[in-house]
Symmetry: C2
Subunit: 245 residues, 2 copies
Amino acid sequence: MPSDGGKGTGRQVGRQGMLGWQAIRDEALRRIHAREWAPGEMIPNEADLAQEFGCARTTVNRALRDLADAGFLDRRRKAGTRVALTPLRKATLEIPVISQEIEARGGTYGYALVSRRLGAAPIAVQNRLGLPAGARLLHVCALHLCDGVPYVYEDRWVNPVTVPGILQIDLGRINANAWLVQNVPYSRGELALSAAAADDAVASSLQCPASTAVFAMERITWMGEAPITLVTQYHAPGYRLTTSI
Amino acid sequence: MPSDGGKGTGRQVGRQGMLGWQAIRDEALRRIHAREWAPGEMIPNEADLAQEFGCARTTVNRALRDLADAGFLDRRRKAGTRVALTPLRKATLEIPVISQEIEARGGTYGYALVSRRLGAAPIAVQNRLGLPAGARLLHVCALHLCDGVPYVYEDRWVNPVTVPGILQIDLGRINANAWLVQNVPYSRGELALSAAAADDAVASSLQCPASTAVFAMERITWMGEAPITLVTQYHAPGYRLTTSI
DNA sequence: TGCGATAATATGAGTGCACATAATAAGCCA
DNA sequence: TGGCTTATTATGTGCACTCATATTATCGCA
């Protein structure tokens, strides 16, 4: 029996003392936390760990890869695996689609177009999108409501060169974000979270005093090298974006 | 040679027309974006896709698992794989260690203890940490500086029952966060991001006018079931937390 | 027809093996 | 000793095969 085909050596599978890859990951994480594997220090290679845990190297690989994805380990070919120097935590936060977020809270979603205008964008916007001076963009401001109460005020710039179809859409009825999500396969984007003082437009739309602290979420998306849209969403006071780490 | 041991059948490996799992993932993602696989709809099973792409089921599994992790697919045993109804985006943002964040920007890190007091915590804090009324906590306020300029004001409650060692530490010299990271292996935590108006303590520490909008990051960490700490970090005006999606 | 037992099925996971790739270590020659 | 080439090594990826697990579908029986 030359290659054994992955089983047959009398290993206990799925029962008894089998260690799943998750168990190995947990044990490795314990050692990291317990400083048995100190930050910046090399850990044993996959083959050795496989022997220690009595499993295949593939299984150890799966466990260590998971920890590397989570930011606990740095792995490089040949160089080996070492504990990350920075105990940086990676929090994966889910960017909600506003209508779904509202409906998930049991509210009724509402939408209102505030303004729509095609024209030259401010220099700052052009720079953020990497567009030449004088580029004409579609500027759309809209309001998302929860049970009729303002929830998010959205200030959006759309590049009609990249998505010409947007100009034909009745944005009074159709949410710009919904249309873009449906019609534009985008490749990458940037996200920035910040706190902002509500300016007049934001304050009046969200029905809060001017200068109120509001949570701002800015997104830029590209299709290949071509910028699609820059949107800043201002959440009503009290909004919290939460996740577990 | 009964099982072929994974090679030998004259397959082209790593060269020629081989499709890596990433290529399969990209193609699947393209089909999702292109609506060839519509939201909520089932996609072909792994075996069929493996045949289509001319690779092993393992490889397809890897690709689809990656997309499921990213939130594009919902997978259930036997039920099969379907395109996620919600095109929710998951952004992984890295929670920086402040000193490292500052040094990465080329600044000089500074730290100053503002206050330290052991006593009964407010009801709100007790509730957030799941502690009984009357629990005594260590309340530490501190300031992180970049080149001598206030960068982050930190308001922290530490449970001395969970981490008694903290009471012996000279927090005027040692950063509470640094000590905790070094000495307390924690298991899980919660993170909340929000915008807040600077109160008097925050405003005076960050040297900004009262009621200025500041970015607040709140973290709660547990060791098992025991709460360790609740910390809220108020960033100086203009702070942006960015990531790519 | 209704319902419980059973079969079928898709994904989840693991093993051994083989080769790919990247980066380091060693060797070699001028 | 400097610098180029080659060997070594740890991780990355892939394959065929096998069993596990969670559902769903089906069948048999009352």
